[in-house]
Subunit: 329 residues, 2 copies
């Protein structure tokens, strides 16, 4: 006997997928679901594994449910697309509590609701390890999806939001796990939230696509050093970024000091920021800034695209290659 | 260090997804892939877990790769749809051999090739247990998808192919695992193949949809007793099926004798046949048979839809309810 009931779980999932579901022609309960799709669809799948991608000892199920959906929506955000439909594939250990699953689902539904996404399918199986597989289906805006491959020499490189917060939050949570009572979390609230409950930049991604000036884009999941390297490889270009330009908060540098780690590692290599890195067409910077003026999210120019390949970090001490130095899941 | 390399794996997946890929606007290598979709899309996801859904001691990786895709294509077949795109979510233990993964992928690609499906995305993560998650995206024929919910009183109930072969094959393989050398596999080749390497009834499902006489359909994955019960519940009807009518082969009854199990359990409850169960519009039986004449696959009428609910088995000894007596994954 398992601690959770598959029937109850499927009922909860089915209930959560009822009601206002634009574009869902046939919902959960048949061999497939049937969806009204546009002429082009964006699709992505991402899997979170217990003790690899999340730590059950400090990740509350509600925020993990939100994050499980968020990291997938972030892939749609990175194309400037509109997320529409989500499928769950849950592999759950027998001893997992029904209450844990209920809270995870509530979190997942709350994130789906924030972005008007419909849960349209799912599969639940028993396994020895908790594995959360999510597939998201979306559509590009009429202006088209933004690929990784469009950056050219002279384009400027930008990031949204701040870097390093999620990495600092995770490091603090891990530190507290090892040395109970050592971390004063009241000083690091936003860092922990950045790890536990990140916000996918869906609306910002769409606005960037709409601007018409963004030539390439991707989300920052494995750290800027790795994610920008992907963009450079896809575009066949080189990125030169400046260490002084990185957007961060005092909380992050305080956390780095407290933990005794390099702040640069948090900013460039820790990953999971779920912000966007993108390039703006050479010469279009002013028009781009004017277009984005209404946008509340912080946008920071961090470098420039040049001929060549790889990602290079410019510091006062010199220039070093940092391609693919991010976190590998 | 794991026994397999994620880079190699991703390279293999990317390579296998290259070439002629109709409808793929952007393939693997960006945050999402972009697909040309019709106005309506069918989508389904299915997860296979080691030691729950398959046994690595006797399931060769090549046929498991084929089967992993096949069971998902079967969901599209059950709607009378055309499978088009597949995404993989592979959770692989560190000690899994690269060669095992290579053969699994080869099997998966061979099944995808048989049905002109494109692999368009994937995610590979490390985990303690082998978990194979597959998502398939397809489209309905212009005549529309066939749902589970369309059966009415007076419709006749049909199944494709033969029943019980996969269940018998699995029971034989399990018997041999416990009592090495006890099973003469030369007598049971087709039964073992039915378990290890089932064929999804994609083309038959389309032909049945095209006929215009099929009112409800689903695939037989959990056994006729359970799958027909799903169809009845969705349609709000009762099914009466006749024990004497079930299509089977002598191999299956011989296996049942050898194993000391009830042949009825294999036919109705063992599951994994991946055949189709469907209902034909009341009064349209002759026209349906005429339409399907060109079709080579065996089709057998096994009962009739009446008012009420549940699935009832008629035997010489009387009538008993068998709803949801199938295998629960």
């Amino acid at each position: 006997m398992s601690a959770w009931s598959e029937r109850k779980l499927i009922e909860k999932i089915s209930k959560g997928s009822k009601g206002k579901q634009p574009g869902v022609l046939l919902s959960i309960g048949d061999d497939c679901c049937e969806l009204a799709t546009g002429s082009s669809s964006l699709i992505s799948t991402d899997t979170l594994v217990e003790s690899v991608h999340f730590d059950l000892t400090f990740h509350p199920p509600y925020s993990l449910g939100r994050k499980s959906i968020a990291v997938n929506l972030s892939d749609i955000a990175a194309m400037g697309g509109v997320p529409r439909f989500v499928l769950l594939s849950l592999c759950l250990p027998e001893d997992l509590k029904q209450e844990w699953i209920n809270q995870w689902l509530e979190g997942a539904f709350s994130m789906l609701g924030e972005f008007d996404c419909s849960l349209v399918g799912g599969d639940t199986v028993k396994g020895r390890q908790l594995v959360l597989g999510i597939t998201v289906l979306g559509e590009a805006l009429p202006c088209g999806a933004v690929y990784r491959s469009g950056a050219s020499e002279g384009d400027t490189i930008w990031v949204s939001g701040i870097l390093g917060a999620a990495g600092a939050g995770l490091a603090l949570l891990n530190h507290e796990k090892k040395h109970s009572g050592s971390v004063d979390f009241s000083s690091y609230r936003s860092l922990c939230a950045a790890h536990l409950d990140p916000t996918p930049q869906v609306f910002l991604g769409q606005e960037l696509a709409r601007s018409g000036y963004v030539t390439a884009m991707q989300d920052i999941s494995d750290g800027l050093a790795t994610d920008l390297a992907h963009l450079c490889r896809a575009s066949g270009v080189r990125a030169e970024i400046e260490s002084d330009a990185f957007p961060m908060t005092r909380e992050t540098s305080a956390a780095a000091d407290f933990l005794g780690v390099e702040v640069e590692d948090l900013l460039l290599r820790a990953g999971e920021d779920y912000q966007l890195v993108f390039t703006v067409q050479a010469g279009a910077e002013k028009k781009f800034i004017a277009f984005m003026e209404q946008q509340k999210q912080q946008l920071t120019r961090v470098g420039i695209i040049t001929a060549g390949n790889g990602v290079f970090l410019q510091k006062q001490s010199g220039t070093t290659e940092i391609s693919f130095q991010g976190y590998e899941h």
